[in-house]
Symmetry: C2
Subunit: 695 residues, 2 copies
């Protein structure tokens, strides 16, 4: 029924100049070496892996993306499971390592029902199971005989893990646990891969021994029959319904009616119940668990740059192709202007372009710190096993690094994911009307990304952790017990210089920009400390101050990491001087644009003067926009996001924006398979029988 | 296949205290007279109409909302057309007037394919057609024999109407027009009701007479056969595909291959082509068209309060039901705290609660101004027809009022729709994880609302109109040619007092808050004027300043309108003193929270001191949150949005949040009708044959 375009339509071209010509022109006007910059950002190995996987995945019909945005949830979920299956088959066939499997998942562009099995279920079994439990559960899970999920969040309990209601009661008589859901709000909820796919779950439940609550612990529970895939008796499980995004994932609910499981099903690497005595054995090293969360958050920071880069790539290319209005000061009959030439568009997009670089380098910095810390912990635990013993100084330094890393990861996770999520929506709007089409590629990506702002610690909740750490650090500095890390350093610097005042030269000296951000953090820290310790204000009344403090501190960390990256010898040797200068401009734009948006805090902390802020806004930022503008397209090209992954008519590398929008609307849109009966007095909605459609 | 909950599940209740108890408690702690406040906001007639329509609509199966978020686009569109048909049948059966029809559309909760027929198509025929054309087109359109749309935007041309490419060439030989689409980018695009429903279109095309372009004009063109509903020859038309929201609307594309239409098909009330001579006759009164756009924008302002109110109602009720963590300063074993008690939640939600009232009263003020202007124009045109003649003074005053109204509507449309759209997303996030579920009711509403930020003038583009008007006003004031309106007044006040300085008492005097906002507008206006006229800066380099200026001015207008409303005798006589005081608190919260967010501009304009801003943030706003908190639930109740319209588990009036989430997930979720085969080595995705499902 869909009528293919007649010849007179096929003969039509977009009004000139063509998108492909405009992008060619953009690329011609900049000398940025895209290949070198790509390698610096991603490494050569990464780029080769991407190329190799693309060649394998793109031809497979099961990975076709054309109907993703038109289908209902049932069919999307079925197709997504089929994609997950095929990926798993290919992983075995081509012997993919973990990086390859993850990258392949990225490229197909949607979460599948295997998502939480392949990540949290396997990781939890691996990290929290004993060797015996590895044999029993992990081996079969790795072979996808057990498909699992990680069931923590409940209908009435999200952030507050201690509030979980699901119970696991120890039965000394037969050495089992009874898993039970005492209320409706204790239903597990939001659990990825649980709704339709999983036959096992790691269930976080309050462990009770002799009626005494020992806190939440992980239990492996079978929930569906391995043959029929029907729920087991006394298990009520299903999918929680449609969502703002992530609709190819079967987030599920789960209730237990006194289900008995054997002793071995409590994951027992860290804490356990002694089978014979029924005694609770305390966790060996709680800081290890602490470490996993830090790793998860650091990863979110690292990914945030790439998440944002998808939106910025699409919007930048499209705004170079799209032309609208003449410049008001131009000659009367001049051509319409590229939208990217308007300052109002530049001031929205180019700081995001800078932010994606900033977040990327910051994420790398975080991962490096995390690795250092892991190495140090391994070293110190191996020395202590050797009974040579880590001295108390070493242990204290280790604990302090971990606390710093934990706070840093909390604050940066909140800032980075908020920046990326909100940045994507700014990109979408910068695309004007067409940004609203699913074919823009931004909306679906934004919807799927948004949960990141809430999970692994709600972005507002997390800021309390950062504030608590900064208050603690400030108390230590005041007491002369200085941790010797960067946080202590900036607090001390502030105390030392407070009387003299700051007067940083933010307009001309990059290092002074970093110092101004540090100054603001320190100022807000001591203000908050005064309120809490001096004026004894309630914690609740200070939550807004804490949120501001955490944001300020995290912005400092991003600015500092970005500065270190653009000043590093690694970057200098990888890039030509011109591109290196451009990286400095991106740093300055990110920093000064942030400074200008947060002007009130910078001013009232005395870090800069009102005059400096005005100059930053009206002169420095405007000049940086001019400097960066000609290189914008090459700077997004360097992120090397393949067209197939972008899945965007607007963001195509070749600039054939209008041709592609038209092709998809007329040839890939199932709505056009049907002829409607539009008259209200006719009951039927369709004029014709629905064809055996492409659906 | 969907297993209904077994008895042990049915017996489960949420952990206490129950949501219904918590909301009862909320309502008990406030004396706000919800009924009185509702009537003040909406009028008694409105509330009765809503009640009456609800009773009619809710029982009709066709309006069932339970599957809306699970279905694919084809089925959603079919169902939506069925809803549109039923509404139209009921409109005739019950003899609904325009208000009733609009309200019924609101209640069913989604745009239907009749949307643009019932609005823009009919309005355009009515306002721009001659009596002959009314006979020919409008009568049949009102009877839904002609289903139409308004085809202006093109694939390559959105905001810039002058850039449209579709041509209408006058053929003197046979007194017809030839409509043609010369390029791919000239395809009409985004046209609501066009994709599948319309058989006619009002097409905006460049009128050419003897090869000379006379600018864009409206033409009525038949596009589909009235019997078969198939496209006519040389017409290529279809739906443009899936979108971020608005998926129940068939936004369409449309191309013409030299289609001839008769002379009478050019809508000719304002300008026309003389049939005999082929001469172009100029528009009688271009300002009337100008008026329609102003009306459309004023309506967006008026609706923005209600749009936001949906999100705020949902989030406020849910945050009163949801409990998470103990207060950190509370006793160790105290119960979890209502989320609404946390300052970090209050500071996000309560300013939005204030904003929805602010926007509502501002919208009313706008509509009043619009009516005054319409009356004045009618009066002056009738006097001039009477040849008694309006004097030049009267005409000038009329033109000035219109210019002021135009600028005001542009700026407020941008501010109001941005505030409502972004506010909804803040509400969604304030609901934590469950905000992401479609059952929250916020996400779908947000997605459907977002185009409002782009259409009827992109919110960034519009700010240029405001700036241009303010620059013009400033030049007039400086030249002593004062328009005598409020804009001139605030500019003059600023000039008079500039040397003495401002020093407004924003913390204690409401009128001074308004004055401080006026001062900031005036300051930014003269700054911009200095850059443009004094320093001869390019228009492009000032776009960011203009955007800030427009935002500042529009915030002033909202603050002023809100202040006038809460100080009005109408409000005083309608409300008890306690509720009246609360309205003043809402005004103060909206104003001071805005002032604090825009602190840098208030400070650098000299409107307030840094000390005042700090106090506003740390003391005044915090105190206002405390004052308003106990009344929050009643203040949203007063908006009287029916549960059926909210379509939200989280925002239910009765607080049965968890019961409803669970019911929908387990009983209304088609995904649970299917059993999947989860094993990657089995090719099939389903274990069972899909049942003849509810879909």
């Amino acid at each position: 029924m869909p009528s293919p375009p007649p010849d007179w339509v096929k003969a039509l071209k977009p009004q000139g100049p063509q998108g492909s010509e405009l992008l060619a022109q953009e690329r011609a006007q900049s000398n940025v070496n895209v290949e070198k910059l790509s390698e610096l950002l991603h490494t050569k190995e990464y780029l080769e892996r991407q190329e190799k996987l693309l060649k394998l995945l793109q031809p497979e019909k099961v990975f076709d993306k054309s109907q993703n945005h038109s289908l209902g949830r049932v069919e999307r979920l079925q197709r997504s499971l089929a994609k997950g299956k095929r990926l798993q088959q290919m992983a075995v066939q081509y012997k993919w390592d973990a990086d390859e499997y993850l990258k392949a998942n990225d490229l197909i562009g949607e979460p599948t029902p295997y998502g939480l099995h392949a990540s949290m279920f396997l990781v939890t079994l691996r990290e929290q199971g004993t060797p015996e439990q590895h044999e029993l559960f992990l081996r079969r899970a790795e072979k996808y005989e057990y498909i699992g999920c990680y069931a923590q969040t409940e209908l009435g309990h999200g952030s507050n893990v201690r509030g979980l209601e699901t119970r696991a009661d120890w039965n000394p008589e037969d050495q089992t646990f009874t898993i039970n859901s005492p209320t409706l709000t204790s239903s597990k909820w939001w659990i990825g891969s649980l709704g339709r796919a999983a036959n096992h779950a790691v269930v976080m439940a309050q462990l009770y021994i002799g009626g005494k609550n020992m806190g939440p612990h992980p239990f492996v529970v079978q929930i569906r029959d391995l043959e029929t895939h029907q729920p087991l008796e006394n298990v009520y499980v299903g999918d929680i319904g449609p969502k703002f995004g992530y609709n190819t994932m079967d987030n599920g609910f789960l209730l237990f009616n006194n289900v008995k499981i054997p002793h071995v099903n409590m994951l027992a690497r860290f804490s356990r119940v002694d089978k014979e005595t029924g005694k609770y054995v305390r966790p060996a090293s709680p800081s290890l668990v602490y470490g996993t969360l830090t790793w998860v958050r650091s990863n979110i920071v690292l990914q945030a740059g790439g998440v944002l880069a998808r939106g910025v790539t699409i919007a930048t290319r499209y705004c170079a192709v799209r032309r609208q209005f003449q410049d008001r000061d131009a000659a009367a009959n001049s051509e319409e202007n590229q939208v990217l030439n308007y300052k109002m568009v530049q001031v929205r997009l180019l700081p995001l372009l800078a932010a994606m670089y900033a977040l990327h380098f910051t994420g790398r910095g975080m991962m490096r710190l995390y690795q250092e810390n892991q190495n140090r912990m391994k070293a110190s635990s191996s020395t202590s096993e050797d009974t040579r013993g880590a001295g108390p100084e070493e242990l204290r330094a280790g604990a302090e690094l971990l606390a710093d890393l934990h706070a840093t990861s909390c604050g940066l996770k909140a800032l980075a994911s908020t920046s990326a999520g909100e940045g994507l929506e700014i990109c979408r709007r910068a695309c004007g009307g067409h940004g609203y089409s699913s074919y823009s590629g931004i909306g679906p990506w934004y919807s799927d990304y948004l949960p990141t702002l809430t999970w692994e610690g709600d972005n507002y909740m997390l800021t309390q952790q950062v504030a608590r750490y900064l208050l603690k650090s400030a108390r230590a500095v005041l007491a002369g017990k200085d941790a010797g890390n960067d946080t202590a350093r900036i607090l001390r610097t502030y105390l030392d210089r407070r009387d003299k005042g700051a007067s940083f030269d933010v307009l001309d000296t990059d290092a002074d920009i970093v110092a101004a951000f540090a100054w603001r953090t320190a100022h807000l820290t001591f203000e908050a400390l005064k309120h809490r310790d001096g004026e004894k204000r309630s914690w609740n009344s200070l939550l807004v101050d804490f949120w501001r403090l955490s944001t300020a501190h995290s912005q400092y960390l991003v600015v500092k990491n970005f500065y270190e990256a653009v000043s590093s010898p690694e970057l200098s040797s990888a890039l030509d001087p011109e591109t290196k200068t451009l990286m400095h401009h991106l740093f300055q734009l990110y920093a000064l644009h942030t400074l200008e948006r947060e002007a009130a805090e910078f001013f009232s902390s005395g870090a800069v003067t009102v005059r400096q802020i005005t100059l930053a806004r009206t002169t420095a930022v405007m000049k940086l926009l001019d400097e960066i503008r000609p290189h914008a397209v090459r700077l997004v090209d360097a992120w090397a996001i393949p067209d197939w992954q972008l899945d965007s008519s607007l963001g195509r590398y070749d600039g054939k924006v209008y041709e592609d929008l038209f092709r998809r609307a007329s040839q890939e849109n199932p709505v056009n398979d049907f002829v409607f009966d539009p008259y209200p007095w006719n009951e039927a909605v369709l004029k014709n029988e629905p064809p055996k459609s492409k659906l």
